[in-house]
């Protein structure tokens, strides 16, 4: 996204050269955010949390049909991969290492190859991809991969980050591990496992800790990997309620929802985000939501990961009567008031 009042196809002048009443400033209006792209579910969670069990059960359900699985293993035994491969339509095993740092290129290559092989009819049809990260993975570089790699972002769309937390040891893990906290904070959906063997007090404490870390995420419970399979793959909601309070953590990571009642000129939001990305890109861990843009029919879905912007997408329709702009910010040491003040200042200047 640049600072001009233009973006996407409009930036390339398509609307002027080849106008169409059926298209908006961001191109064809879409029924859903992912458009025609392949949905990707990123399943993260600490070692032993139960990611593989959850995924394996999911693959055995009718909803799991047509899921290609990308697994990265940490350690040489590859036990996670062996478990999953028995039922996945296609499994790509990434090498020894953590998905976030060592094998990102492998991930890109694996996903590209899957698309090419499907196009050639060499790979069974798949309708979604599940990426199971190693326990140590920080999800943000994976999300960045889908924003940075032009070929990937045109073909794949991360629909949800699902983080699995073990009710028995999860509380302790969140205490000592920065990565575990980040996994919880960046999740769209938190799945608590082993609730049947955890004590009630540990379970309750973990739930309240997770609520504090990530007030916007849904929290679901799974016992022996059992969960409504549809919930695992459901796209993340862009409608996190505005009553979500600003949450802050010891790592300086906080989340808040920027809301606006009236339609916003695109330039106001675009230029505000330009400034934020230029000044504090590394601290914008994830920004995502619906924007009510002046002149657009449906909501415009915006998404940023650090200094990278996904192309904005205009949907055909609002999902309900609420026309409020609501954009969730997960940031490090950036307060809601600072962002709100910036947007107001830009609005006054544009």
């Amino acid at each position: 996204m640049d600072g001009r009042d233009k973006s996407g196809h409009d930036e390339q002048g398509m609307n002027e050269l080849f106008p169409s009443p059926a298209a908006g400033r961001f191109g064809r209006r879409l029924k859903r955010e992912r458009g025609a792209r392949v949905p990707v579910i990123v399943i993260t969670g600490f070692l032993g949390a139960g990611k593989t069990t959850l995924l394996k059960r999911f693959l055995d359900t009718p909803e799991g049909k047509g899921t290609a699985v990308v697994v990265n293993e940490f350690g040489a035994t590859g036990i996670d991969d062996v478990l999953v491969r028995a039922s996945a339509d296609e499994t790509v095993l990434l090498g020894n290492g953590c998905l976030c740092c060592i094998t990102r290129t492998d991930l890109q290559q694996a996903l590209r190859r899957m698309v090419v092989e499907r196009e050639r009819g060499e790979l069974p049809d798949f309708r979604r991809v599940a990426i199971e990260t190693s326990g140590l993975a920080d999800p943000s570089p994976i999300l960045q991969t889908f924003a940075t790699d032009r070929a990937l972002s045109g073909v794949f769309h991360v629909e949800a980050v699902v983080t699995v937390i073990d009710a028995v040891t999860g509380g302790d893990t969140l205490q000592w591990s920065v990565e575990a906290r980040k996994q919880a904070i960046l999740a769209d959906r938190l799945i608590v496992t082993k609730t049947d063997i955890a004590g009630e007090s540990a379970h309750t404490a973990l739930t309240s800790r997770l609520r504090a870390l990530n007030p916007g995420a849904e929290i679901l419970e799974a016992v022996s990997g059992e969960i409504d399979p549809g919930r695992l793959i459901e796209p993340a909601s862009n409608q996190r309620n505005s009553f979500v309070a600003e949450a802050s953590h010891s790592d300086g990571i906080g989340s808040f929802v920027l809301t606006e009642e009236t339609p916003m000129p695109w330039a106001v939001f675009a230029r505000s985000m330009d400034v934020l990305m230029q000044l504090r890109g590394p601290d914008l861990l994830r920004v995502k939501g619906f924007l009510n843009v002046e002149g657009c029919n449906g909501p415009v879905v915006v998404q940023f990961v650090q200094h990278l912007a996904h192309p904005p997408v205009e949907l055909e329709n609002w999902p309900d009567d609420n026309r409020q702009s609501r954009v969730v910010f997960i940031t490090r040491n950036i307060a809601e008031q600072q962002v709100r003040a910036l947007v107001q200042a830009v609005r006054a200047l544009v």
Binding site: S20, K31, A36
Partner: protein, 411 residues
């Protein structure tokens, strides 16, 4: 990094991406379909799709697609002669025009038949317009959207072509009185009539003949005429008795001819033009869907093509691989209209939808390559034509045995 090899890995996997197959119907074992598809809302409210057959023995088939998950054959008719084919049909209200072509010249019947299909189970012939002749094979394709004029690619008894393959040209038939259709205008590509300076023959030599003859109410004074090896013409038909060429565009040579369909997207000043693949094993590759900048209709500029999968992955699957028909936004109430999405059939390349919101970079958004239909001699599906109704239900047909497939768009 290592890759686990799936036990299911093999070549030519079927693919369904962002289409949802609702049903397939082999039409009673006569599932070899042509390139005529038209939807009627019958008086009793049923939704009937009328389908042309690729070749004899069947003439046309009507299918009740009120529930696209359960298509039911309503009527299926036979051609009177085994050497005939009725590859094209079009419906306007309750009147259906059917094109009759013969294998050789001087065979009868060859021409245009109009039917009253107000009772879909009982199509009733209203009239027959004879196009047979010593140098004519009759009508290959027709367009009949306004209930008044049939625009068609046809031979005529009084037209002697300079080459036997150049026998079909543009003819405009006034069908306002459907019991007595009369020709009111015609045009042929200069060089195709005996006595004119003959045109150079193409490598595959498919002929300089009219194919699609599209006319839209948004621009009733324009005809978008494809001429097989002769490229395509934008024609001025403000005076239907005197069609005049405005511009001409061709890709061949160096491409291998057989230009098939031209669909204007009026508000966007674009033209979508298709080739037809006619050779097995992709020997005429590449056969493409082309996007033309038509801001100046006198100076058409090719700006992109809709991308196809790698030819080596499809060439040997069986039958043809490459472009053919697209949904043509016919100006009728039962047809879906889009200037953002192009949906086309590519023989063994299946059915593909493209987002052309940026016409310089068409992007595939949906694919349907079903398994080879039962009994097909081609060894692979050969999707031949496509129509999308105003509900967004997609209908596509196989050229040999697969009959009708109904699908939903999911993109």
């Amino acid at each position: 990094m290592s890759t686990a090899t799936s036990p299911l890995n093999k070549s030519a996997e079927p693919t369904t991406w962002n289409f949802m197959l609702l049903a397939q119907n082999d039409l009673g074992g006569f599932g070899g379909m042509g390139e005529g598809m038209s939807v009627q809302i019958a008086k009793d409210g049923r939704r009937i799709i009328w389908l042309a057959h690729e070749s004899a023995p069947k003439n046309f088939t009507a299918v009740d697609v009120s529930d696209p998950r359960q298509p039911k054959v309503v009527v299926q008719t036979d051609l009177p002669k085994p050497y005939m084919r009725s590859n094209s049909l079009e419906l306007s209200g309750d009147i259906m025009a059917v094109a009759y072509q013969t294998q050789k010249v001087n065979q009868q019947p060859a021409g245009l038949e109009l039917f009253d299909v107000s009772v879909p189970e009982k199509p009733r012939s209203i009239s027959f317009f004879d196009c047979s002749g010593a140098t004519s094979r009759g009508v290959h394709q027709l367009w009949f959207c306004d209930g008044e004029y049939v625009h068609m690619a046809s031979g005529a008894p009084d037209f002697v072509p300079s080459h036997p393959l150049d026998d079909q040209f543009y003819r405009c038939i006034d069908a306002r009185n459907p019991s007595k259709p009369v020709e009111i205008g015609r045009w042929w590509m200069p060089g195709t009539k005996k006595g004119e300076t003959p045109l150079p023959r193409h490598k595959l030599d498919k002929g300089y003949r009219a194919h699609n003859t599209n006319v839209y109410k948004q621009r009733g004074d324009r005809l978008y005429l494809c001429y097989i090896d002769g490229g395509m013409f934008v024609m001025d038909i403000a005076d239907k008795t005197k069609p005049k060429p405005i511009s001409h565009w061709t890709n061949s040579p160096p491409y291998t001819g057989f230009m098939h369909t031209a669909v204007p997207l009026f508000e966007r000043n674009l033209l979508i033009v298709t080739d037809e693949s006619t050779e097995n094993k992709a020997e005429d590759w590449p056969k493409l869907v082309w996007l033309l900048d038509a801001r100046d209709e006198k100076n058409l500029v090719s700006i992109s093509t809709c991308p196809l999968p790698p030819v080596d992955a499809y060439a040997n699957r069986g039958g043809r691989f490459g472009a053919h028909n697209i949904h043509e936004n016919p100006p009728v109430p039962t047809a879906w209209q889009s200037d953002q999405i192009v949906i086309g059939t590519f023989f063994n390349g299946g059915l593909r939808a493209y987002d052309i919101s940026n016409p310089y970079q068409p992007k595939e958004v949906a694919t349907f390559v079903p398994p080879p239909p039962k009994g097909t001699p081609a060894g692979a599906v050969q999707l031949n034509d496509v129509f999308v109704d105003e509900r967004g239900i997609v209908y596509t047909v196989d050229r040999h045995t697969g009959g009708l497939y109904t699908l939903e768009m999911d993109f």
